[in-house]
Symmetry: D2
Subunit: 242 residues, 4 copies
């Protein structure tokens, strides 16, 4: 399984508080979390040529993680199109937190992907409830994941109804959110997972790392080859019509 | 539109606090709420012959509301079967609160319909968030419905994934719940709506009454006749096989 | 209910066989079919300024029908974006036949919308089976719709799994197709309906006209207002965190 | 992975044509097909004590296949209840062909599970189209599975909309059918697969055996433990309410 963690990688280089939380970048923390579950991953970042995602690399990738926030607009449309094609061809995609507004997620969803949000300098408590405890995404998770400080994301979340809804979040401030959403698009699987603001140490949480490892395995599940039918030759007789 | 509100009608006759809250029975409050939206409804109760649901009456019913709690086991299996058949034939069914454990709901769902619950003598604050604000069930509802005192129902809720999820609840105590779930079964539509414990005045809340009126209209939506094909006679030729 | 039928309107002006079948344009036939069910509609076509879809007109439109085929690429991206926004804001959209490859449908689906297709100069028999006979889209339709000559569209059809699947087609040549697919996106409803090639008189068929009338009514169903919560002010206390 | 193939096992002992096709019973053919894909399975049959499904055995079973036809009514309700509980607790269930009318399938679906059917002594051609070629159930299957002689099952098929629809069948006689349907119920996965009449050698077909092996692996996918929350103790403070 070939996993690539894509990160915008700007906050960590520009804001001291973020640098302290994520000295190896958010991608570094995600990679470390996956490694703790036996999953090797590489990184790619916005400021590399082709954002680190040349076609030859994407073609070899089974699962792509995506973390972006303030620089969505800087992502080249050609790369977005390339990622979309790879997802439809079977690559898994795990979109994290503020990636809800990334070009790639909006393009794959077809909706605005807007949500409700509030300023809360110190964050607030979030609880993620697995509503489908038998789902592969919830493996190894207890009755809920509690995050002492998180950024509230609220409903309505303008996405298509997920093909499988796995997590719903509770926020101390009074809101709920569909925080773990599965989609199938083409031959690819997409998982959106909302926790993970850059100013909280959420990607160091073991339970969050467990979900990310589950996501990698789920999104990379082996797919059928399903070659196209030669419909010109294998059809029933049509002559009766003429 | 012919609406029947079925109520177990035991708490109201046995517990003084409930009698005070619902002097005309829970069915009376639900009927009054529907009437406020221009929908006439009749009542049926457990202790009537055939629980007030003889076949001739059910056959004329477009939408049946169901409130039961402590006497689920007393509901006759023959009546349950009859209601199930009517739902599959096109009657709408709105299952309320503790009706999640009613025979009819469990039979139509095929699952245990278990949920998580806690003792909280004075209840706690509940907020119902419409996650699909364009849905007919959420018509006329603002950004959320707030109930000052409600009984917590928590996840996992062991039901099939709803065909349409409309409301998610937030509870002060830290849980979430899929509180408004739409199902299509046969030609019938089913809506499960969780608020409504007998010791809280929830069915007197205007916003709750709005949802119940929405539910009646949604569940009674006109359906196609869709008569069966005479497959013995309208088929393509099969002779080539012989 | 304000309905606009958008048509590319090229085939009818360029190919004599199409002109004969649809002397008033495909939009004219669709309008006539809707009128037979009491639904007034206007038309808009590709070669009008802004393709006949200026913002002021779209803002007043409840349901937009879309028929395009060979000139998808000529549709201006700004108009596509405008239509998408209106759908997400609640306008219904009915996409017909070769419109599966229109910019607007692909954008709303997020997938390639590819399908399998074959050359068959005289077409072949198609049968559309309503698999959910109680669905509003199937109202008034018998056990199946039979079209003596139609263009085959086959699986796999690269779209998201429909929120509601209403029709499945059988083709004489040996294929099947999900020919009637419902989607909810934002506050809008989208219906894709596959029959309707320009060289067959399919839009003159009463059963097809019935489905199109059903589609107009379904896609224009009244929606909630659902104004946004002022989350900065109506929250639970967060002070405990600090 | 512990797999049990349950078979009614009556036709094979009573009708010579069936005995010839399935000398080791339908369960024998299914077991052989699974073995060809490296999956060991045991059998259980109706006329054994407890139908071969005592609680201790079911508790150890990961996936149960179910083939029944004429003796559905003879299956003991206590065993049906036991199987249902095991499915909700996480056991996979693969229901085959006429098993659509089995007590266990109807109970888990909550609907009549009726379908349209016709007498055709020599059967007719069936083609199963994978509409989701990336799905695990379609792994190793080409563009379609063609069966020269099969029994027609037609729509409407009165089941809940499948959580994932994988196969749609085309029949020579003019019908379609949702022939491969996935459901999640509780922590269990259910797959309904329609081909397999006792008078056709369908379970000897390599492509059908491939799907059954796919089904075993899919239905046995590892599940989370998801222990229950102690809601009495881990809640947010409620005191503010009192």
């Amino acid at each position: 399984m070939k996993v690539v963690v894509w990160n915008e990688y700007r906050h960590e280089r520009q804001a001291e508080t973020v640098t302290k939380l994520y000295p190896d970048g958010i991608h570094g923390a995600i990679k470390a979390g996956l490694a703790a579950h036996g999953i090797a991953a590489d990184a790619a970042t916005l400021d590399e040529p082709e954002h680190g995602l040349p076609a030859a690399r994407l073609d070899q990738t089974d699962v792509l993680f995506w973390w972006g926030h303030r620089a969505h607009a800087e992502v080249d449309d050609a790369v977005v199109e390339r990622v979309q094609r790879r997802v439809l061809a079977g690559m898994g995609l795990v979109v994290l937190h503020s990636g809800h507004h990334s070009k790639i997620f909006r393009r794959l969803m077809g909706t605005s992907c807007n949500l409700v949000w509030r300023v809360a300098p110190n964050g607030e408590r979030e609880r993620l409830w697995p509503i489908d405890p038998g789902h592969a995404l919830a493996a190894g998770i207890g009755p809920c994941i509690e995050l002492p400080a998180s950024e509230m994301y609220g409903e309505p979340f303008d996405v298509p109804a997920p093909d499988e809804l796995v997590f719903i979040s509770w926020y101390q401030g009074g809101e709920v959110f569909r925080s773990g959403c599965c989609y199938r698009r083409g031959r690819g699987r997409i998982f959106y997972f909302s926790p993970g603001h850059e100013t909280y140490p959420i990607y160091h949480e073991p339970a969050i790392q467990q979900v990310l490892a589950n996501a990698a395995r789920w999104a990379a599940a082996p797919h059928a080859d399903g070659s196209r039918l030669d419909v010109q030759n294998r059809r029933e007789p049509l002559e009766r019509l003429d």
